[in-house]
């Protein structure tokens, strides 16, 4: 880390353009993007015509706000390839995101797009310690999923050796890492912890017996506590990166050695942060929904894509020398956001509080009620053997610690309800952690 902090880690001059120059580039590219879709994508031609807009109306980056949003269902409605902005014969690669509800959505690339993708992944890999003379082990699934390939190209672009280990057979992966003396590990954060666990079962000390120095983790939500755990377990420096297949895949944003947010690749995307309720821009430092406009992607160019991901954007300059703004961790999905006594609260924040007090995330459920017009939050937590004590003083201390942590993280007080194991509902797939009784029929009389 100390070594990285003093090293030059900027891959591309576009990462450190003066802001005015960057914004001029963004404005120029935005106009081109709008012209491209207006001409080639019937969906956008119709939408822009309905608003009486053409590329002539887009001359500055703030003009993006005149444009309509694109949402996930627009992608499904235009299945499979109706949003193509180039002739079909120019496609070089087709990936798809798994459709949890019905059809998948395609992520498509021209050769130029694949080049851009390689560069954008190279930026954050290089920032996070990867160099030409090293090896990087990719334990992401390859196939239709964009994760494996995007990182793979980034490693090749840096010039390092790629080990496309893909997923599965953790013991073999550990043997590969050790035998090849691999410096960088790329996978999901939970798989990183799994590698450490299996290494321990093998009688190894993962912090000293595994050669890895750097890890790039993504593909699922994770917390700062998880980063601390991964770094201690594996004896590495861990970096976060962000991407989504709708607009590219990995490479949309990634951390620098300062690790105080993920640098947004603003020369290739235009980012906005809006209040999911009003669609108005949020004030600096506030949480909002990330909206992404593709500036350079040729195969598909999405205008104002609603990611549903909620985060903050840091505007102040970063010590690393990059001039791009930085996004914080995704702290929730706009569809999960709860508004409690006027405060925006996310289930992930409750989860973070439980994790930081307990070291693990127990099963929990959040219930919202509004007796006498005042929002009330009850958090039920399944007690685990290591949390339980025969002493009342210790149980009360545990309750107070959880209460306090939830209040610190969310700014609201809750009623904590400790319950026996296996008493809360279990979910297949995505958990539904919130029961909102506030607007249920009959709730107004309470």
């Amino acid at each position: 880390m100390t070594q990285l902090a003093t090293e030059q880690t900027i891959w591309d001059k576009n990462e450190s353009l003066p802001r005015e120059e960057l914004q001029a580039l963004q404005a120029k590219r935005l106009k081109q993007a709008v012209a491209r879709v207006y001409q080639n994508v019937p969906f956008y031609t119709a939408n822009l015509n309905a608003l009486g807009l053409t590329a002539d109306d887009i001359n500055a980056i703030d003009d993006v706000r005149k444009l309509p949003f694109t949402v996930k269902t627009d992608l499904r409605d235009n299945y499979p390839l109706d949003l193509l902005a180039v002739p079909r014969d120019q496609l070089a690669r087709l990936h798809a995101s798994s459709g949890t509800t019905g059809k998948p959505t395609f992520a498509v690339f021209t050769q130029e797009d694949l080049d851009t993708w390689s560069d954008l992944c190279a930026r954050f890999l290089y920032a996070g310690g990867l160099r030409k003379n090293q090896f990087a082990h990719v334990a992401f699934g390859y196939g239709l999923f964009t994760g494996g390939f995007g990182l793979h190209y980034g490693i090749e672009r840096v010039g390092a050796g790629v080990i496309p280990a893909a997923s599965g057979n953790t013991r073999r992966q550990i043997a590969l890492l050790r035998d090849l003396n691999t410096e960088t590990l790329i996978c999901t954060p939970s798989y990183a912890l799994n590698i450490a666990e299996v290494a321990r079962e093998e009688g190894l000390d993962p912090a000293t017996d595994l050669p890895i120095k750097f890890g790039h983790f993504g593909g699922e939500p994770w917390t700062e506590d998880m980063r601390v755990a991964i770094e201690a377990e594996l004896g590495i420096t861990a970096f976060n990166n962000y991407g989504l297949s709708e607009v590219l895949g990995p490479g949309v944003a990634g951390e620098c050695p300062c690790r105080n947010g993920m640098h947004l690749q603003e020369d290739h995307f235009l980012f906005e942060l809006v209040d999911p309720q009003t669609d108005e821009p949020v004030k600096p430092g506030e949480i909002g929904e990330l909206i992404i406009t593709n500036l350079t992607k040729q195969a598909t160019t999405l205008l104002r894509y609603r990611t549903r991901d909620l985060c903050v954007i840091h505007e102040e300059p970063c010590d690393c020398g990059r001039t791009t703004r930085r996004m914080g961790r995704v702290i929730g999905r706009s569809d999960d956001m709860m508004i409690i006594r006027g405060v925006n609260v996310f289930p992930s924040q409750i989860e973070e509080a439980l994790l930081s007090v307990e070291g693990t995330t127990p099963h929990y459920m959040i219930e919202l009620d509004r007796p006498g017009n005042l929002d009330q939050v009850t958090v039920s937590v399944e007690i685990q053997p290591h949390m339980f004590s025969d002493k009342m003083t210790e149980m009360n201390m545990l309750k107070r610690a959880i209460d306090k942590e939830i209040r610190t993280i969310t700014g609201i007080g809750v009623t904590l309800n400790l319950v026996q194991p296996q008493t809360l509902a279990r979910f297949e797939g995505k958990a539904k952690r919130v029961i909102d009784n506030r607007f249920a029929p009959g709730s107004m009389e309470k």
Partner: protein, 152 residues
Amino acid sequence: MKIQQLSVFLENKPGQMAAVFDILGKSSVNIITMSTADTEQFGILRIITPEWEKAKTVLEKGQFVVNLTPVIAIQVPHKPGGLSSILALFQNQGINIEYMYAFPCAHTTEAVLIARFEDPCNVADVINATSDFKILSEADVFKEKKSCEIQS
């Protein structure tokens, strides 16, 4: 000279305590004594039984969280002032009691005090060195004092 106490987490909803004793009864577990501590939101049930291993297994199967806690059983005279004499000893020796409960033995003049300390070994040493109180072994509590048993 420590004996095992089962500590069981009880969620605050009706029937939880009954469920514990239903499980123990169906598994023919004999209970020597028990006590509870509650707050508005949850309770802790503490049980002394010779069959603590079996009791722990069946309760865990029934989705209860159960811990084993080492406690000390001390024989005290079952008469006015019997308890105060041992409490005076703890006070004089600066020993802190986390919690305690007691039960009389039928047909004898003795009672048994179950007490939880931060450092039970040290407490046992102090009691042996400074008083005539008898610290009971598992055998004392569980086997020979059959008359003390409550049938669950």
